[in-house]
């Protein structure tokens, strides 16, 4: 079949449009394993540069942990490389069951079902559990995969202003005529580090007879005193009906996700979830390493404690230096720059100073809310943080934004 000129021209024009809008993404080639320090080739063909990584979801520093890597090696030897099967045919090993049980215990739920990713878990969940008689009411800033999952299902859907409990209550009242209601939220919102007010959400859910769904991908493993997640942080373990989360961030960083919650709901996902039925099982090597991760994070809070201390230190130092950081306690620390070009230039200059971060701007964040999203890790030592802070200060002075508030930065650089 010939790749027709109409198709080629259309796609070429789309790509030109993306470049003209300043939204073209270029990959950076990382030569080393993931960690606090990495070596990067960027742009392609440039000499390899050693940088401090401040933008990974490697919150607990487990992505290249020697015990996790060793467990993966042992898993390859004992369980093989691939299963060549979906779960229900011949793709479930005893270790899959073991991992599901460990996740259930860790998250404080009734049952857990593994998926290839949390994206797949979110794709499965709503379609299976809700019908046209039902409604899902989601926080307006939920993750793209939750939105996609909601759109896949046949239930009515609506949204409430970000973390606005009055608006959520109004929506719950509006939909009292529905058979089932489900409130969907991220536990922690990935662009801001905002923590969902789960205690209030659970209260409203009780009052208006609704289920609570939380995508806890940016919380599992380290939020809450023992790292169970946002529900532990907010004191509502056992009150969230279904959690989806990933092993691709704090809990190892390779791949894998899950649905974890009320046992009938999870079992129905096992029976009918399309990603479960039609996509390959989680690789044995990932399961083996994930079991080791679960052991590490269940036995000690050392890593999540260090992450908490790193977060506090970085936020305090950057605030004292005069940066505009959205207040919070989560290791996502957005350094607000508001102007998209400023965010891109700032990130580029930081890379020159040996600090690897990315500028975020529309449409990833709302227009006029461009930022550099720093993510702290338990893998960061004080020397990494101090070097990053010094680099931020140097570039902050270059652009004259230290000590400026939002409107002052906007007046200087525009929105």
């Amino acid at each position: 079949m010939v790749y027709g000129s109409t198709a080629r021209e259309f796609y070429q024009n789309e790509l030109v449009g993306i470049r003209n809008d300043g939204l073209f993404k270029e990959e950076r080639y990382i030569i080393t394993p993931q960690g606090a320090e990495i070596e990067v080739e960027f742009p392609e063909g440039a000499p390899v540069k050693k940088v401090i990584n401040m933008c990974a979801n490697n919150y607990l520093g487990l992505s290249s942990h020697p015990e996790v890597v060793a467990a993966a090696h042992a898993g390859l030897d004992s369980k093989g490389y691939g299963m060549s099967s979906v779960r229900f045919i011949c793709g479930t090993q005893d270790t899959h069951r073991q991992l599901e049980r460990k996740l259930t215990e860790f998250l404080g739920t009734e049952d857990t079902l593994l998926f290839g990713s949390c994206m797949d878990a979110n794709a499965a969940l709503f379609e299976v559990t809700l019908t046209p008689e039902d409604v899902v009411i989601a926080d307006r800033l939920v993750h793209a995969s939750v939105i996609d999952g909601i759109k896949l299902c046949s239930a009515q859907y609506d949204s409430f202003k970000h973390m606005d409990m009055k608006h959520l209550e109004a929506k719950l009242k509006q939909f009292q005529d529905k058979r089932l209601r489900m409130v969907a939220t991220d536990g922690v919102f990935s662009m801001d580090g905002d923590i969902a007010p789960l205690a209030e959400i659970c209260e409203l859910a009780d009052k208006y007879d609704a289920m609570v769904m939380v995508d806890d991908s940016h919380a599992s493993g380290f939020m809450g005193k023992t790292g169970r997640g946002t529900h532990e942080h907010c004191g509502v373990v056992g009150r969230v009906d279904v959690i989806t989360t990933t092993m691709g961030k704090a809990m190892g960083g390779a791949s894998g996700g899950c649905i974890s919650g009320r046992k009938e709901l999870v079992e129905l996902c096992r029976q009918r979830g399309r990603p479960y039925l039609f996509s390959n099982t989680l690789a044995p090597v990932v399961v083996a390493a994930s079991l080791k991760v679960m052991d590490i994070i269940s036995q000690t809070t050392e890593r999540r404690d260090k992450l908490e201390n790193n977060t506090l230190y970085f936020r305090e130092q950057m605030t004292a230096a005069g940066f505009d950081i959205r207040p919070g306690v989560h290791p996502i620390a957005p350094i607000m720059l508001y102007n998209a070009k400023l965010a891109q230039d700032f990130a580029r200059d930081l890379y020159g100073e040996g600090i690897y971060v990315i500028g975020f701007f529309f449409p990833v964040v709302p227009k006029g809310q461009a930022r550099i999203r720093v993510q702290l890790s338990a893998a960061h030592e004080k020397e990494h943080l101090d070097k990053a802070i010094d680099a931020f200060k140097k570039i902050g002075e270059k652009y004259g934004i230290l000590g400026l508030k939002k409107q002052q930065i906007i007046d200087k650089y525009g929105m």
């Binding site: 949204s159 709302p366 227009k367």
Partner: protein, 84 residues
């Protein structure tokens, strides 16, 4: 001359989409979706409001970002389906 339909739409948009503390003016031609003020996911609330308030049914294929981008466009859409 005051346009009651547009005023009602505008009031709903402000109530439904403007965050507390935000200082936003919604004019008849303010780009709501292309301006990043309302996205395709949260647009569903607006569609539901229009259908309930005016007793109309807007086919999904007509509920496009263009059709919902301004108060003017939304009012035109409502008039099209109330007159049909």
């Amino acid at each position: 001359m005051a346009d009651e339909l547009k005023d009602k739409i505008r009031a709903y948009v402000v109530d439904e989409y403007v965050e507390e503390g935000e200082d936003v003016e919604v004019k008849d031609d303010t780009p709501l979706i292309s301006g990043g003020f309302v996205d395709s996911f949260s647009m569903v609330s607006l569609k539901l409001f229009l259908e309930t308030e005016y007793g109309i049914k807007i086919p999904d294929e007509k509920a496009t970002a263009e059709a919902f981008d301004t108060v003017n466009a939304i009012a035109a859409l409502v008039r099209q389906y109330t007159e049909a």
